[in-house]
């Protein structure tokens, strides 16, 4: 189909869509005049009932913890799909010359990954106290490992970025989340009930079970991102797969 024909079909659809959008937005409350009750309720109860001072993470890992489990498995399924598409049989190791020769870059590579990973762990650990959490921290940890590839090359990266390390880690993240939920069932409570006590608000010991779910998400997200990076890096570097 030509570009002009596609636009000719798109234009009337766009007019209808625009009408729908205007109609929908006209029914929304004015910006800043929040009407729903849930936000206010969550903000009021997180400290007295959950001992968690970050209401966003209290929503993600406690109040809406079951949904987050589904989300973790969306991530898991998507990564599995990418691996199935890209991870071929009879693979050879990287053959392209990607040796990093600059001393300055290599020196940065010795320091930067540790710093970025440390920041990621900090973001994940303090998720119930300050802005952050497992998803954000996990992405930062994966970013730190990606710096390893950029600064030291494929050989250094492949010691960490290979399936024998990352696949079990991803399984641990996704499975660990379910295990925390099943642990509550085993003690006779509903799935994902907090069984470790709520701890003290504003400290690292706040959240109870939700803190474990937070770490499960951090491991899952970090491992999933690293698996994706590994697969795409190997597509670029491994020859004979045209």
């Amino acid at each position: 189909m030509s570009r002009r024909a596609r636009l000719a079909i798109f234009a009337p659809a766009l007019v209808g869509f625009a009408a729908l959008l205007v109609w929908g937005v006209a029914g929304l409350p004015h910006f800043g005049h929040y009407r729903g009750p849930y936000g206010h309720v969550v903000n009021r109860i997180v400290i007295p009932e959950r001992h968690v001072s970050n209401a966003v993470n209290a929503t993600t890992y406690d109040i809406r913890g079951f949904d987050t489990m589904g989300e973790e498995f969306i991530l898991f399924a998507a990564v599995t799909g990418v691996v199935l598409l890209l991870r071929g049989s009879g693979r050879t190791r990287a053959e392209k010359d990607d040796v990093v020769r600059s001393d300055v870059v290599r020196a940065a590579g010795a320091v930067a990954p540790a710093v970025v990973v440390l920041v990621g762990l900090w973001v994940a650990a303090f998720g119930f106290v300050t802005p952050g959490g497992g998803f954000q921290g996990g992405v930062a940890v994966a970013g730190g490992a990606a710096v390893l590839f950029v600064t030291l090359g494929y050989r250094a990266w492949s010691r960490l970025g290979n399936e024998s390390i990352l696949d079990p880690l991803e399984g641990l993240g996704a499975g660990g989340y379910v295990v925390v939920g099943v642990a509550a069932l085993a003690s006779g409570l509903p799935f994902l009930t907090n069984i470790f006590g709520f701890g003290v608000a504003g400290t690292l010991r706040s959240g109870g079970s939700a803190e474990l779910l937070n770490w499960a998400a951090a491991i899952e997200v970090a491992a999933a991102n690293l698996i994706l990076m590994t697969e795409f890096v190997e597509q670029y570097l491994v020859r004979g797969r045209s």
Partner: protein, 114 residues
């Protein structure tokens, strides 16, 4: 101006759709889909904004401080994660298409099979 954030969300959505419709490259198409999805972040956060509200994080502030809706922020987080995984899948599919068809232009792929 009280509808401006909603207008921004609608604009981002339509710009992304236009990119998808006119795309000549599957990778460009995937990025355009991500742009379209980004409009939902703006919409969700705009819906949850409370006039003069602070962040929904109550470390070092008195209880009962006015804050924005944390539920839509948690939903936005979910949204971003899903967006990234979808983009990863699309890129993997684009690689696969290139391997089999030798091109990632949707029009040329259609010609090959048409």
């Amino acid at each position: 101006m009280s509808y401006a954030p909603y207008a921004v969300a609608a604009w981002i959505c339509v710009v992304g759709l236009y990119g998808i419709v006119t795309s000549r490259n599957l990778i460009h198409l995937g990025v355009c889909l991500t742009v379209t999805q980004s409009s939902t972040y703006v919409l969700l956060l705009a819906v949850g904004y409370v006039h003069n509200g602070g962040p929904p994080i109550f470390t070092g502030v008195p209880p009962g401080t006015r804050a924005v809706d944390p539920v839509v922020q948690a939903l936005t987080l979910t949204d971003i994660v899903v967006s990234v995984t979808v983009l990863a899948l699309i890129l993997a599919l684009a690689l696969d298409v290139h391997r089999h068809a030798g091109t990632i232009d949707p029009d040329e792929i259609a010609e090959l099979h048409g």
